[in-house]
Amino acid sequence: MKRILLFVLIAGFFYNQASAQNATDKSEYQQAMEDVVADIQEAGLEADFQPFANVLERIAAVEKKEWLPQYWGAFCYMMKSFAEPVAEKKDLLLDKAEQLIAAADTLNPNNDEVEVLKANIASSRIVVDPMNRWQRYGALSAMAIAKAKSINPANPRIALHEAQGVFYTPEAYGGGKIKALPLIKTAIEQFAAFKPASAIMPNWGAPVAEYMLAEAQK
């Protein structure tokens, strides 16, 4: 027993050393971001995104010139808002998401990914109170998407966002799963072609497109 424990301990130690070695190879920033982005990618919809958001905010506080910690932080708070049942608390989380994406926008202006996330956050605002909010936030969302399109029309998250808009709109309003199908297909094709510039660049949404495709083809 003792031997096993000792082995685990030593192995653990070496493992730590090895990863520490890696860390110096990469840079502390790159490593920390890779870890947390990987965690986010693996997390399911039911996961609590708060710990990731906390890690990202710690990184953002040190790396004042990097936009990605702010970007992913905004993403985490948006994801957390979906799981939050109380409308007022949803808004507090989205306040935070808006604040972070605005910071990312300042650090990296005219970026399609930032615009797409802005559009998604605006749409999340609508979800809180659709009847009263779609007019204001619908316009904000449309503007951000239009800007993203003008920067990089191949970004699959643009088509994904548009597909979601149609997918979740009742058929009576000209939406629905069937109507969304062409957009879903475009998104899926674009996801297949999409290669993120690095492991920490925005790269999310493909499973959502797959899910919608499955639903639409039912």
């Binding site: 424990l5 301990l9 710690r58 749409s123 009847m131 969302s141 449309a142």
Partner: protein, 724 residues
């Protein structure tokens, strides 16, 4: 097993301290000791940190040495920074975080105010409610009349608040008084407001105890805040309904123009009216709005409108067996309201200035007698506000106002004219003693040339949060108003009329359900009294007797409001009940009596249901109003008679349909579905022998129309996007 492991654990610690690491651990709770899950603990300037677990515990390692700052933060709480000297292999740090100031936990002053807003979360109404409420007819005032504290007076426009007459309520747009908020008054035909609810992002209806920023209203103010520029979209809007057509175009979200033509002839042909419209109301209107963010911190809003309306109707002559005589009205109205707002020093300073001008002409013929009215008002206003506090939650402001008003009225060969120079200064502070206790205190000073005396009125409101979802609020103050111009035409020695308000309010709001109860007491002083040998009940008469300020009055009562948007899916339901007890000695009343515009009981039930499947919104509204006093010379008790109560059921439906990137909205309403023959009161011939009921324009009416919005980036409404 446990103690076997122990030496290894020790070894582990030892190794780590050799590597120069320290384990920092502890627990994060709120001030009450409840654990916080998901709080972030970090060492400033490093990646080191952790997140509190489901027990509120956290633990992390750091290589940092000596003096560091450890930060603990959590959404909705204030971040705590602690200077720590790192020593040894382990350290324990516990945090008790303080609630941050936010709309969720901070108290808001609710006594005497009912808000509709898009931007504020803790309000009970949304601007959209104005257009979706049955019996409201998309008219702001008509919907406000369904709220607690308002009385319904069926034959006249305006807001009658807690025993006050319509002239005791002022409509204010972006801080400035609107001279003619309604289409020109016609006897027994209540008029709509001149402004569409779509112009405003927020509306607040005061039932008393309002802010020192506003004056010249004994009872109430209706505060309207115009829309901000939200997008760069261009859009076209076309509307057609039973009574007219309109078209509007907005260019890049900044400039918009509207034109409409209205003609009630087709509508009046379809329904049975109780009034003989010799010339059906007809008119045209136009408006131009400029709404531009000049820089990141400054906004310019300009609005101008011109409207021309005329109509003629036969009014009964009570002394001639009800034979009618002609009343004709031709109205021309020009109004412009302009404001400039600049925010400085990251929101610490806000300066808002405005200019408005209004010119209203009513060419009136009563029988063969001309009775023209002319009003002109020029207004300047400037307010400087300083915000402070962590979330800019506290403020102090000071402002000035200047109005130049010219009123004139012709009757036959007589013409009366009144020129007024009115100025006001005010200061007000709103601050939080704690997140649970808010205070608003203000002082307003006014001077008008017609009275030639100043007045000073203090106003105070308090609010205290009694629980997570409940609060009590209190408001009091003095409210002055210059007497009605009809009295000032004949007597220039009158003084200000005064009302003192006391309001106590309790409110619980949780999960889209709101319950609110408010009690009030209002004391009227220095009301204008007119001395006449015999009482003349004609509501349209001109005063002729001697007048002074010896009148007085009192109003007290309570109202209850309950709204539930939760229990029925996509449904919304609200109930309002107001009780009022009031008496006055004023105008030409010979004795103290309940005034003719007051009602003891007011009840309204509003229900709305949205059915997403067919994209249609339905609404039903029921209103009950107990009979208002009317004058019968045969009754020894002055104003001792009451007609039967007023009951009304209204229905409204609207359907939204997107067609190729644009929206079509179909709407229809039926007022008084049951066709009940309501009577507002009676009027008598001067010999008191024959009486005539005062009745609505029509018993049952219906209305329908269609509106289309074409925008370049038309977005589909995302009502259904609820479950992503």
């Amino acid at each position: 097993m446990k103690f076997q492991l122990y030496p290894f654990a020790l070894l582990l610690l030892f190794t780590q301290s050799l590597q120069g690491q320290t384990i920092i651990s502890g627990k994060v709770t709120d001030r009450k000791g409840d654990i916080l899950v998901g709080a972030s603990i970090s060492i400033k300037g490093s990646y080191d940190g952790a997140t509190s677990d489901t027990l509120g515990r956290y633990s992390f390692r750091t290589r940092k040495k000596d003096s560091v700052i450890v930060a603990a933060s959590y959404i909705g709480y204030e971040t705590e920074l602690r200077k720590v000297l790192i020593t040894g292999p382990t350290m324990e740090l516990h945090f008790k975080l303080k609630d941050a100031f936010n709309e969720l936990n901070a108290v808001t002053i609710t006594a005497g105010i009912f808000e509709a807003s898009d931007s504020k979360r803790m309000v009970m109404l949304r601007p959209l409610d104005i257009v979706t409420t049955a019996s409201g007819g998309a008219d702001i005032t008509a919907v406000m009349q369904l709220l607690p504290g308002a009385n319904r007076v069926g034959e006249q426009e305006g807001l009658f608040v807690r025993g006050g007459s319509a002239s005791e309520t002022k409509t204010v747009i972006d801080g400035m008084i609107v001279q003619n908020p309604f289409f020109s008054s016609t006897p027994d035909v209540p008029q709509r407001g001149r402004f569409t609810p779509f112009m405003f992002k927020g509306m607040a209806f005061s039932t008393g105890g309002y802010s020192a920023q506003y004056g010249q209203a004994l009872s109430s103010v209706l505060l309207l805040d115009t829309q901000d520029k939200v997008s760069d979209q261009s859009s076209t809007n076309v509307i057609a309904h039973l009574a007219g057509v309109g078209v509007g175009y907005t260019h890049k979200g900044a400039i918009s123009g509207q034109l409409y033509y209205s003609n009630l002839a087709p509508f009046l042909k379809l329904i049975k009216t109780n009034i003989d419209f010799v010339k059906p109301p007809q008119g045209f209107g136009s408006s131009l709005t400029v709404n531009q963010n000049l820089s990141k911190n400054s906004v310019l809003k300009m609005y101008a409108t011109y409207a021309d309306n005329d109509n003629a109707l036969g009014l009964p002559n009570y002394d001639d067996g009800g034979k009618t005589y002609l009343f004709s009205l031709h109205n021309r109205n020009f109004f412009t309201n302009n404001t400039y707002k600049v925010v400085m020093d990251e929101g610490k300073w806000v300066w808002q200035s405005g200019f408005s001008y209004s010119n209203n002409v009513d060419i009136i013929k009563i029988g063969e007698t001309p009775g023209d009215r002319k009003d002109e008002r020029s207004q300047l206003r400037s307010v400087l506000k300083r915000n402070w506090g962590k979330n800019m939650e506290n403020s102090i402001l000071a402002g000035v106002e200047y109005h130049y008003i010219v009123n004139s009225n012709v009757f036959g060969v007589n013409e009366a004219q009144l020129k007024e120079n009115y100025s006001a200064v005010f200061a007000e502070s709103e601050f939080y003693l704690t997140t649970k206790l808010a205070v608003r205190a203000g002082l307003r000073g006014e001077y008008t040339s017609i009275i030639d005396k100043p007045n000073i009125s203090p106003r105070v409101s308090l609010a205290y949060k009694t629980g997570q979802y409940s609060q009590v609020s209190f408001a009091t103050g003095q409210f002055y108003q210059t007497p009605e111009k009809n009295y000032l035409f004949i007597n220039r020695n009158l003084g200000y009329e005064l009302a003192n308000h006391f309001i106590l309010n309790y409110q619980v709001s949780k999960n889209d359900r709101t319950f609110r109860v408010e009690a009030f007491d209002k004391e009227y002083k220095n009301l204008v009294r007119e001395y006449q040998p015999n009482f003349d009940p004609n509501p349209f008469r001109f005063p002729t007797g001697n007048t002074d300020n010896s009148g007085f009055g009192k109003a007290y009562g309570f109202d209850v409001f309950f709204r539930d948007k939760k229990s029925i899916k996509a449904g919304d339901f609200w109930v309002t009940y107001s009780y009022l007890n009031t008496k006055r000695l004023f105008q030409n009343y010979p004795v103290e009596a309940m005034p003719t515009f007051a009602t003891t009981h007011n009840l309204s039930v509003v229900y709305k249901q949205f059915i997403p499947k067919i994209g249609t919104n339905f609404g039903v509204t029921y209103t009950y109003t107990s009979g208002r006093p009317y004058y019968d010379a045969a009754n020894p008790v002055f104003l001792g008679d009451r007609p039967k109560s007023f009951n009304n059921v209204s229905f409204a439906a609207s359907h939204i349909r997107p067609i190729k990137g644009s929206f079509l909205v179909f709407f229809m309403t039926v007022d008084n579905v049951l066709g009940r023959r309501n009577e507002f009161g009676f009027r008598y011939s001067s010999d008191g022998l024959s009486r005539f009921p005062v009745i609505p324009v029509a018993y049952r009416t219906f209305f329908f129309g269609i509106s289309m919005n074409i925008s370049r980036h038309a977005e589909v409404p995302k009502e259904g996007k609820l479950d992503i």
